[in-house]
Amino acid sequence: MSTINLAVNGQSVSGEVEPRTLLVEFLREQLRLTGTHVGCDTSQCGACVVMVDGKSVKSCTMLAVMADGCDVTTIEGLAEGTELHPMQQAFMDNHGLQCGFCTPGMVMSGLDIVNRHGNELDADTVRRELNGNICRCTGYQNIVKAIRAGARAMGD
C-alpha cells in the first residue's frame, strides 16, 4: 500500500491505496465522490474527466498514486453550497442532458475548454474539443449550447 496526500475540491485528503488503484476508484470508492463516473473504462468516453492541477484528465487512465501531491477538482467541487456553478446551471437551463450519465465529464471538459479558449466559443470549437466525451442520449446539440452558454456566463 502507498500513502497519498492530495487536495480534492480544496480539502486536503490522504489515503492508503494499492499502486494499481485508479484515480477514479480512489475518488469514488474511498472518498465516496461518486459524481465522477466510469463509463467505458478505456479512456474513450470521458465520463470520468476530472481536473488535475487545473487540466482535464481521464481519471480511469491515471493511477491514484500519480495524483500524490496534486490538486484535484471533481464535479462535486464546482457548486457553492446550493448555488450551481455557471457551467452546471447552463446544462440545466439548456437541457444539456437526458440520462445524465456523461454530464459530470461533459461539465468538466466544458470548463477545460473555457480555460483554453475563453468565454466566447463557437459551436465548431466546442464540438471539436468534446471529441473525448461521448453522450448516447442527446445528439450533442444541447450540450454544445450549454457549454457555450456556460462559458459566457463564466465571463459575466
Binding site: 479512456s43 482535464s56 484528465v57 487512465t61
Partner: protein, 264 residues
C-alpha cells in the same frame, strides 16, 4: 490490472537504476497506452517506474535551428507552445490532434515514440524532420529509431530523455484519422529542408517509415502534382476493419499530396 510495485524517481539516473534492478519493470510516462494495456492484462510488469516526477525530462527549448522537446512533455504542451508554433507549426498541429484534450494533457512525446504504435502520429514527425532521439546512453537518428511494430532501437532499460527536431523550411502533416480513436489510418509528414525533401508515412505499414519514393518524386519539383503518378505498394499496406490495403495505398498518395500542398 495485476499488482505491481510503484516507483517515482526524481532523476533519470535514479530511474535507470530502478528499471535495471526490477525483475520485469516498465517505465510509464503519461500512461495513456500502458495503463489501458495493463487493465486488459496484456502487460503485467513487476514494477512501474513513473517518470512524471523528473523535471529534467520535461520542457521545450529552442536553440538556433534545433527545437528540443523533453520526453515527458505532453501533447498539450507541444500543441500550445508558442515557440514550437513559430519554429515548426506542423509539429504543434500534429500534437494538437492526437487523441482528445484529456489524453493530450497526459500523453507524452517520449511515451508515444517508445511505444511505437503503428498508427501513432509522432513517429512520422521524428522521421520526416530528421530528428535525433536522445537517451540516457546515446543519440539515435530518428529514421533508425522505429524498427518494427511496437519495436524500437532502444536497448533494454534505455530511457528517452529528449528529442531534437531541426527546424525545416516548411513542413506539414496530414492524417486520415479513425474518427473514434483519432489514430492515423494513414498519416503523411512531409518537410522541405535545406538538404531536400523528406517524408514519412505512419499508419499504413507495420510501423512508421521514411518514404524514400515520395522524397524522390518530390526532389525535382516539390508540388502536389509531382505525386500525380505516385503509387504506394499495396502489398506492403496494413489491412484491417478500418481500411483495406488498396484503400490505404490510395490514402498515402492523397495525404502526401495534401501535405505537400499545405507546405506552399
Amino acid at each position: 490490472m495485476y499488482e505491481f510495485s510503484y516507483h517515482r524517481p526524481a532523476s533519470v539516473a535514479e530511474a535507470a537504476e530502478l528499471i535495471a534492478n526490477a525483475a520485469d519493470g516498465k517505465l510509464v510516462a503519461g500512461g495513456q497506452t500502458l495503463l489501458p494495456t495493463m487493465k486488459h492484462r496484456l502487460a503485467s510488469p513487476s514494477d512501474v517506474i513513473d517518470l512524471g516526477g523528473i523535471a529534467e525530462m520535461s520542457g521545450i527549448v529552442v536553440n538556433g535551428n534545433i527545437v528540443t522537446v523533453g520526453a515527458m512533455t505532453t501533447h498539450a504542451e507541444v500543441a500550445a507552445s508558442s515557440e514550437i508554433r513559430e519554429a515548426i507549426p506542423a509539429l504543434a498541429a500534429l500534437a494538437g490532434n492526437i487523441g482528445d484534450p484529456a489524453v493530450r494533457n497526459r500523453g507524452t512525446l517520449g511515451g508515444s515514440i517508445a511505444n511505437n504504435d503503428p498508427a501513432a502520429d509522432y513517429p512520422a514527425a521524428v522521421i520526416a524532420l530528421g530528428a535525433t532521439v536522445r537517451t540516457n546512453r546515446r543519440e539515435i537518428a530518428g529514421e533508425d529509431f522505429f524498427t518494427a511494430m511496437f519495436e524500437t532501437a532502444l536497448e533494454e532499460d534505455e530511457i528517452i530523455v529528449a528529442v531534437d527536431f531541426p527546424r525545416p523550411d516548411a513542413a506539414s502533416y496530414m492524417k486520415f484519422e479513425n474518427p473514434a480513436s483519432r489514430y492515423a489510418i494513414v498519416g503523411v509528414f512531409v518537410a522541405r529542408t535545406a538538404a531536400g525533401p523528406r517524408a514519412a508515412v505512419t499508419g499504413a505499414t507495420a510501423c512508421a517509415h521514411r518514404a524514400w519514393r515520395l522524397e524522390e518524386a518530390l526532389q525535382a519539383d516539390f508540388s502536389a502534382s509531382a505525386l500525380d503518378d505516385f503509387e504506394a505498394p499495396v502489398d506492403k499496406m496494413n489491412a484491417d476493419i478500418h481500411a483495406g490495403a488498396e484503400y490505404r495505398a490510395h490514402l498515402v498518395k492523397v495525404m502526401a499530396q495534401r501535405a505537400v500542398a499545405a507546405c506552399a
